[in-house]
Symmetry: C2
Subunit: 414 residues, 2 copies
């Protein structure tokens, strides 16, 4: 088995060829890889059956097995995803700024590929194809490290891509996957600064914390969302219920789902019963403050609740005395992902937008819109909750970098 340094060196070498490919060739590769998935679907599904059987034999069940399991339809989605990425505009080579200095130097800021991108993720085999596709379009080689439970599926998938690359005459190391899924190997990968330019963890908060903690390679933190909805005194309360329900139950397991409800005291008396009833009808457990506890079935919220991303049919809820208190609470407990104010008051809206320090801040719309597809990016590699490099949904453009190119005629510095 290759050492992590060898894998890094191979990725770096392949990244040189990849960084120079024109859009048409990258798109041809993506389309050929999509065809490769379709033509080898039996191979993928067989490998996946083994992964699923092994996971079940180890006593794993429930949502984990669902995420691990591939079907014909899911493989078709992976193939379709690669074709969709092929259709996106190519961001590489875009000139972002161009100026001529008084001394005659022409300075251009050009968008260029990152180089090598590492992706560390859990046992969701569709990420293998998605991450490879978006990184390739962005001109970067990929080193994948997926969850060990999906290893057979991932190896089958990556070997299809590598065969396609090789058959087309390209360096197959544009995509590699770690066969050694030990923590030691993952930690070595997190310290491979010489070869990996960017590391993106995709998964639960534990995984992300570990990568942020242990990585010396620059990381983009993605994902965890303790998203708030604040219902202002000037809210349309019917609209507030619609947004709340959508944000909470349309898909409770995802990072842009609502986890915490804040209600202005002036509308509390009317809104609390409305909201509680609507949530409970959708089988959401409400963990509330004293005011919410007046409603039947509401469980008392603990301090821990305010900071918890449930990713489940549970919500924390409390009354605030004014908008400022809502903003302060969000600053304190939020993971800076997505927050929403429901209000008809333009001043209150703008104050919230300005003062809430999160990647996406909404007025009168569901937090569930925080998504690369919804934002029109065509594909998404994750949602950044950090402030460096990219914030919010990240598409192809967000995983590129820039360089300055300077044309002179012999200028020297006086």
């Amino acid at each position: 088995m290759l050492s992590i340094t060898e894998i890094g060196q191979r990725a770096k070498d392949a990244s040189v060829q990849l960084s120079l490919l024109p859009a048409s060739e990258k798109n041809d590769i993506l389309k050929a890889c999509a065809a490769g998935l379709r033509n080898n679907i039996t191979q993928i599904l067989d490998a996946n059956l083994q992964d699923v059987a092994a996971a079940k034999a180890r006593g794993i069940k429930g949502a984990f097995i669902d995420r691990l399991t591939l079907t014909e339809a899911r493989v078709e989605e992976m193939a379709k995803g690669l074709e969709d990425v092929a259709k996106l505009p190519d961001p590489i080579g875009e000139v972002l700024e161009k100026r001529t200095l008084p001394n005659g130097l022409i300075i251009e800021k050009r968008r260029v590929p990152m180089g090598v991108i590492g992706i560390i993720y859990e046992a969701r085999p569709n990420v293998t194809a998605d991450a490879f596709g978006i990184c390739l379009k962005a001109g970067s080689a990929t080193i994948l490290r997926g969850g060990k439970e999906a290893l057979r599926t991932n190896l089958a998938t990556v070997s299809i891509f590598r065969n396609v690359l090789s058959a087309m005459g390209y360096n197959e190391n544009m995509v590699q996957i770690l066969e050694d899924t030990s923590h030691e190997m993952a930690e070595q990968m997190m310290r491979l600064n010489r070869y990996i330019d960017l590391l993106i963890p995709r998964g639960g908060s534990g995984l992300i914390r570990t990568v942020v903690e242990k990585s010396t390679v620059p990381v983009i933190e993605t994902g965890t969302g303790n998203c708030h909805i604040y219902v202002d005194k000037d809210a349309d309360l019917e609209m507030a219920v619609r947004i709340l329900l959508n944000a909470k139950v349309q898909r409770p397991g995802v990072c842009n789902a609502c986890e915490s409800l804040l209600v202005h005291q002036d509308v509390a008396k009317t809104f609390i019963p409305m909201a509680t009833k609507a949530l409970q009808e959708k089988h959401v457990e409400v963990r509330g403050d004293a005011a919410f506890q007046q409603q039947e079935g509401v469980v008392p919220a603990t301090e821990e609740d305010w900071g918890t991303e449930y990713a489940d049919y549970i919500i924390s809820a409390r009354v605030v005395k004014d908008e400022q208190e809502a903003i302060d609470l969000i600053r304190r407990y939020s993971t800076h992902h997505s927050e929403c104010i429901v209000t008809e008051n333009a001043y209150a809206a703008e104050k919230f937008l300005n003062e809430v320090d999160s990647a996406c801040v909404y007025v009168n719309a569901s937090t569930r819109f925080t998504d690369g597809g919804q934002f029109g990016f065509g594909a998404e590699i994750g949602i950044s909750t950090q402030k460096l490099h990219a914030r919010g949904p990240m598409g192809v453009k967000e995983i590129t970098t820039t360089k300055y190119v300077i044309y002179g005629t012999g200028q020297v510095r006086p």
Copy 2:
């Protein structure tokens, strides 16, 4: 003394007020701080005299003492620097993108402040004022951790700024400096993810390596430059000598100075004697390959030389068989800061610009131009050699972030 958590909390609190200040108020603060430096120059110079005396007493000498020492002229430069930053355009609030989606949602991408920026630097007291000024203009509170030898000077400087802020009715914690200059405290600062949004190390390669290694807070790596000049077969050799001399000796101690010379074999016979003579006349030691060693006074280069940033009157030099070999060597040994090709051949130039993976890539101009001032940024907080967030010289704009702001009329996700 305050704990690092208290310092972080105070900075975060102050950053809220600062993030909402209009440009005019930030500029007034900067001008008042400049006046504060001038009015309290005795206090600063007295503190500096003590720092310098203490350093000398510990046997420190040479360039270190020079960098540590403030004079009236240097304090005036610091004051002038703050006034210059006040004159720059305010990047905050700029709308970078604005779109209306088919469902009616209006999405805006706005430039917003980072929040809290930590700066870890060495015993250069001018950095204290420079870093504070540029961060304040960018709307972010600053936590400074300077070299222990400059502590008295830094405390005197920061206390002037804090008094100005407080007298103007602002939160003085917009700038703080660590009084505890121990490594333990610095390492705690590097792990203060809850309060610090961005950490910028400024200094030598050892400092930068330590911060990259130990920090869990997102870091922008700045500085070290093993910059190359490649003299192509189609170079104007007189121009090549002028550029080479400027890049090597105009200021050898800085990161954008040239450290390594690559010469195409077709021009080696003519260029090697020209270059060697010109460099030696400027007292530059040439460490060369076999071809360069034909010249008197040239020292044999070791493998280590190719990867060394001398920051001194020394250069490594070798002959390459073609441009591709030059590019490959640069990929291998460069720190991805600044590289230059000297050529009259447009194809060779464009190949070099495309394939060399550095922050700034030049055709026919000195690498010494890699500088925020030279690029027209007005002020610079460092030169990024990483690919995340900012690459090359970083001005005010480069230490901001963005957020998405979404206006709806009750939209929910289908």
